[in-house]
C-alpha cells in the first residue's frame, strides 16, 4: 500500500510538471528555460570577472568593476574612441571652445530618452553636474555616505573650493549647455568623456533617492534588470536606443567568478563567453585553443623603479643613469609577464598625447653603467636600499621577483642593493615621506591624459605626495604647467615631448614595463574591442 501511494504521488508530480511546461510555453513565449529554440535565437552574453561592482552610481566610486557595468547603462557628453583615448561625440554631437578655453558650449543630441521614458536635455546635464559639485545639493546624498572624490580630483575640488574650475553651468536652450571655467584646463574635454561623468535621469534621482546606486537609469544601449550581489548583474537591450541597429545583444550578464582558474574552466566548458583577468601564464593555452580567442588591452600603465633624488648617492645624476643602464628591462618583461608587457622608455604609456617615440631610452649596457659609476666616483661600488612592494598590481604582478632580478643586475656593476620589505599602508606613507632610497611602484591611467601621469608623478609640486622620487626640475615644472592650462592639443603634445626628453636625461626613475592585460573570449563573440580604460561599450558586440 505504501509503495503504491508513493508511485501515485510521483506520477502526479510528473503530470503536473508536464502541464506546467506546456502552460508556460503557451502563455509566455519568451520563457526560454523551457524552450531551447528560443535560447539559440536570443543573443545573451555572459561576461565573467573577478569581483562584483561596488555601486552602480558611477560618480561616487572609483572601482573599475563598477564602471565596466555602468558604461553599458549610461552615456556621457563625449566618448572615447573604441581603442584609444581620442575624443568622439557622445550625448553631445558637437562642441565649441571659446575665450581661450574658459567657455565650453555643448550641443546635445535631440530626441534621446532615458530608460524610464523621460527626455534627455540640457537641464538633465546641469542637474547631474550640480549633484557632484555641490555637497549640499538635494541629490548629492552626502548624508547617506555618497562622495564624489573623482569629481574633485578632475575638476579641482567642489563648489566653493578655491581650485574648483567650473564657475557656472548655463542652460542656453533645451539642447545647448555652456560650462564657464575660472581658468583653462587642458584636459577638460577628456574629463567629459570619462565614465565617471555620465548622465543619470533626474526623474530616477527623484524616484530612487539614495538607492540610485542599485537602480541605475541612463540613456545607454542596455537597461538595468537585476543585481544579485556577488553573483550576477543582468542588463537587457534598450529598444529605444538612440543609435539605429544597436545594441546587437539582447541581454548582457556580468557574472562574478573570483578564482582565476575557475573562470578559465568555466570559459572552456562554455558556461561563460568572455573572461577578464586571465593569468599571463595561461595566455599561451588560450591561444592554442581553436574555440577561444585571446584579447589584449592596450597598455595604460607602467611599473617603475623610483630613485629618490633627494638622497645620496641617488642625488647624483650619473649614478641614476648608471642604474638605468644596468637594469635589464627586456628580461623582466619576458620573465614575469609571459611576454605581455613591453619595456618602458617614457613615464607615459604609448598612444598617449605627446608620447615621445623619438627617445631611445637606456640600453642594457653593463660597461656603460660601470663607466658612469666610476665617473661619479663609485668605482669601488656602493650600497643602496631597495624597497619592494608587498602587493601585486597589474603593472607589477610579482614585485618580489622583480626586486631580486634588479638586485642581481645591480650587483654586476658593483651596486649592492639591500631589499627592504614593508607593509602596504606604511609603504605608501613612508615612500611619500621620502624615507626610501630605491623603491618600486607604478601608475595606471584613468582619463587618458598625459597630465595624469607626468603631472602627478614628476611635477615638483607633487613631491612628497604622488611624486615619490622627489624629482624637482623647474624647466620640467614650467613645461607641465603650460601644458595643463593650454587647450591647443598639438601645443600640449610638444610641451609633453620636451618634458619627457628632460626627464629621461635626469632619469629620476627606471621605467620598467608597460603591462598588457589579457582577456579570453569564445571565438563566436564578434566585435569585442577591449578599451585601455578597462570599460568598453558592448553595444556592437554580437554572437555568431
Amino acid at each position: 500500500m505504501k509503495k503504491f501511494s508513493f508511485l501515485l504521488v510521483l506520477m502526479l508530480a510528473l503530470v503536473l510538471a508536464a502541464c506546467n511546461n506546456e502552460a508556460s510555453d503557451d502563455e509566455d513565449p519568451s520563457n526560454d528555460s523551457d524552450n531551447n529554440n528560443n535560447e539559440e535565437r536570443e543573443q545573451v552574453l555572459v561576461f565573467a570577472r573577478g569581483g562584483d561592482s561596488e555601486s552602480l552610481d558611477f560618480a561616487s566610486t572609483t572601482d573599475g568593476e563598477s564602471s565596466r557595468v555602468t558604461k553599458q547603462i549610461y552615456e556621457s557628453l563625449l566618448e572615447f574612441d573604441k581603442e584609444s583615448f581620442d575624443i568622439t561625440p557622445g550625448l553631445a554631437h558637437d562642441w565649441d571652445v571659446e575665450d581661450d578655453g574658459k567657455k565650453y558650449t555643448f550641443y546635445l543630441e535631440e530626441g534621446v530618452t532615458f530608460h524610464d521614458g523621460t527626455e534627455f536635455n540640457a537641464e538633465a546635464v546641469k542637474t547631474n553636474f550640480e549633484r557632484w559639485s555641490d555637497p549640499g545639493h538635494k541629490y548629492a546624498f552626502t548624508d547617506e555616505g555618497y562622495s564624489y572624490v573623482i569629481y574633485s580630483i578632475m575638476f579641482g575640488g567642489f563648489k566653493g573650493d578655491e581650485g574648483h574650475v567650473i564657475e557656472e553651468i548655463n542652460v542656453l536652450d533645451d539642447y545647448t549647455i555652456e560650462f564657464v571655467l575660472n581658468r583653462p584646463l587642458g584636459y577638460f574635454l577628456q574629463n567629459m568623456a570619462m565614465s565617471y561623468f555620465a548622465i543619470t535621469s533626474p526623474a530616477a534621482l527623484e524616484q530612487y533617492g539614495p538607492e540610485i546606486n542599485e537602480n541605475p537609469v541612463g540613456t545607454g544601449p542596455f537597461k538595468f534588470v537585476s543585481w544579485t550581489k556577488d553573483d550576477t548583474i543582468v542588463l537587457e537591450k534598450f529598444e529605444d536606443y538612440r543609435k539605429d541597429g544597436l545594441p546587437k545583444l539582447d541581454r548582457v550578464i556580468f557574472e562574478v567568478i573570483p578564482d582565476n582558474a575557475a573562470r578559465l574552466i568555466s570559459l572552456r566548458s562554455g558556461e561563460i563567453d568572455i573572461m577578464d583577468g586571465l593569468n599571463p601564464d595561461d595566455a599561451a593555452g588560450v591561444e592554442s585553443d581553436d574555440t577561444l580567442v585571446l584579447h589584449t588591452r592596450a597598455a595604460n600603465n607602467f611599473g617603475y623603479l623610483g630613485l629618490n633624488t633627494s638622497k645620496a648617492p641617488l642625488d647624483n645624476k650619473l649614478v641614476r643613469q648608471a642604474i638605468n643602464h644596468a637594469v635589464n628591462r627586456e628580461a623582466i618583461a619576458e620573465a614575469l609577464y609571459a611576454g605581455y608587457a613591453i619595456p618602458a622608455v617614457n613615464p607615459l604609456p604609448p598612444g598617449y598625447l605627446g608620447f615621445n617615440d623619438e627617445l631611445e631610452g637606456y640600453d642594457y649596457n653593463l660597461d656603460k653603467a660601470k663607466e658612469l659609476l666610476a665617473e661619479a666616483g663609485y668605482e669601488d661600488g656602493v650600497e643602496i636600499d631597495l624597497w619592494t612592494m608587498p602587493v601585486a598590481r597589474p603593472y607589477m604582478p610579482d614585485p618580489e621577483t622583480v626586486a631580486e632580478i634588479i638586485q642581481n643586475d645591480l650587483a654586476q656593476v658593483g651596486i649592492t642593493a639591500n631589499i627592504v620589505r614593508e607593509e602596504w599602508g606604511p609603504y605608501l606613507e613612508k615612500t611619500a615621506n621620502g624615507e626610501q632610497e630605491m623603491f618600486m611602484l607604478g601608475w595606471s591611467g584613468t582619463n587618458g591624459d598625459p597630465d595624469y601621469f607626468l603631472g602627478s608623478l614628476l611635477h615638483g609640486d607633487a613631491a612628497g605626495g604622488s611624486n615619490r622620487t622627489f624629482y624637482q626640475n623647474s624647466t620640467v615644472d614650467e613645461l607641465l604647467d603650460q601644458a595643463k592650462v593650454s587647450i591647443d592639443q598639438e601645443e600640449r603634445a610638444e610641451l609633453y615631448k620636451e618634458a619627457q626628453r628632460l626627464i629621461l636625461e635626469d632619469s629620476p626613475m627606471v621605467t620598467l614595463v608597460h603591462s598588457t592585460p589579457v582577456l579570453a573570449a569564445q571565438d563566436y563573440v564578434k566585435n569585442y574591442v577591449p578599451h585601455p580604460s578597462t570599460s568598453e561599450s558592448l553595444a556592437e558586440v554580437e554572437l555568431e
Partner: protein, 333 residues
Amino acid sequence: MLAYTIRRLLMLIPVLLGMTLLVFSIVHFIPGNPAQILLGETATEEAIEKLEEQMGLNKPYVVQYGIYVSNLLQGDLGISLKTKSEIATEILPKLAATFELTFFAMLFAIFIGVNAGIISAWKQNSWFDFLAMFFALVGVSMPIFWLALMEQWVFAQELGWLPASSRENSRDPITAITHFYVIDSLLHLDFERLITTLKHLVLPSIALGTIPMAIIARMTRSSMLEVMNSDYIRTVRAKGAGQFLVVYKHALKNAIIPVLTVIGLQTGVLLGGAILTETIFSWPGVGRYIFDAINYRDYPVIQSGILIVAFIFVMINLIVDLLYSYIDPRIKY
C-alpha cells in the same frame, strides 16, 4: 521536554546579549571615526558632525550600545560602507546560499559518513573497513582548495558533466523567492531549473562535505564498536534479531549520540568557514561576504556578519541538545 526547551530558549538571551556586547565593543574600539570613514577623506567637518549625530556617535558608549541592540531587535543591521545598502537585505540571499550549500554538503557527509562508519564497525577489520578508514584519513587531511580544483578540472573541464561555478545557469537566472534555489525552482514548478540547480550543488557540496564526512565516518565507527559490544545488543541478538536490524535499529540509536555532537559542530564550522569553497566555486554566500568586508574594512558588515554566524552556531548547539533528549530520554537536564 517542553519545559526543557523553554528553559534552553530563555538561556539564549544572556548568551546572545553577551555576543552583541562583545562584537559591538571590538568594532567600537577600533581606531578611526566611522563617520569619517563613511564620508571619505574629502568630507567637511560639518558633514562629519551631522552624520555623527545621525549615527548617534556623539552619545556615550552605553547609550550607543543600547541603540545598537534596539536596532538589531527591529532587524536593522545598519548600512554597508562599501555598497551603501542595508546589510539586512544584502545578507539574506547570501545566508540562503550558504545554508543551501551547507545543507547539501552535510547531507552528503552524513549519508556517506554514517553508513561507511556503520559498515566498517559491522565488518570490523574487513577490506571494506580498512579501505573506508584509509579514505577517511585522506579525506580529513585533504586541502579543500586542492580537492575543489581537481573536481573542477576533472568533472567540469575534462568530462564536462557538471558546472564549475555559480549557483545557477547565469544565461537564464532564476527569479528568487526564498533565495533557496532548490525550493525556488520547486515553487516555480520548474524541474529543468531544479536539475540545473542540483547539478551546480554537486561539486561544491562534495568539496565542502569531504572533511566532515571523514570525521563522521570515524566517529560513527568507534561509537558503533563500543555499542556493539554492550550487553543489550547481546540480548537483542539472543532474541534472534537479524544482523541488519541489530545494527540499524538497536545499535545505531545509541551510537548516534556522540555522532550528533560532531554533526552539529561540523555544521557550524561549515556555515562560518565556507569562504574557500565559496570563492573557488563563486558561490555568493555569507563567507565570501564577510571576507570581502574584512578586505574593505567595512566594519558594519563585519560586525553583523560575525554576529549572524555566531547566532547560527548557538542555534545549532541548541538543536543538537534538543535532539539528544529526544533520541535518548535518559538524558535529562
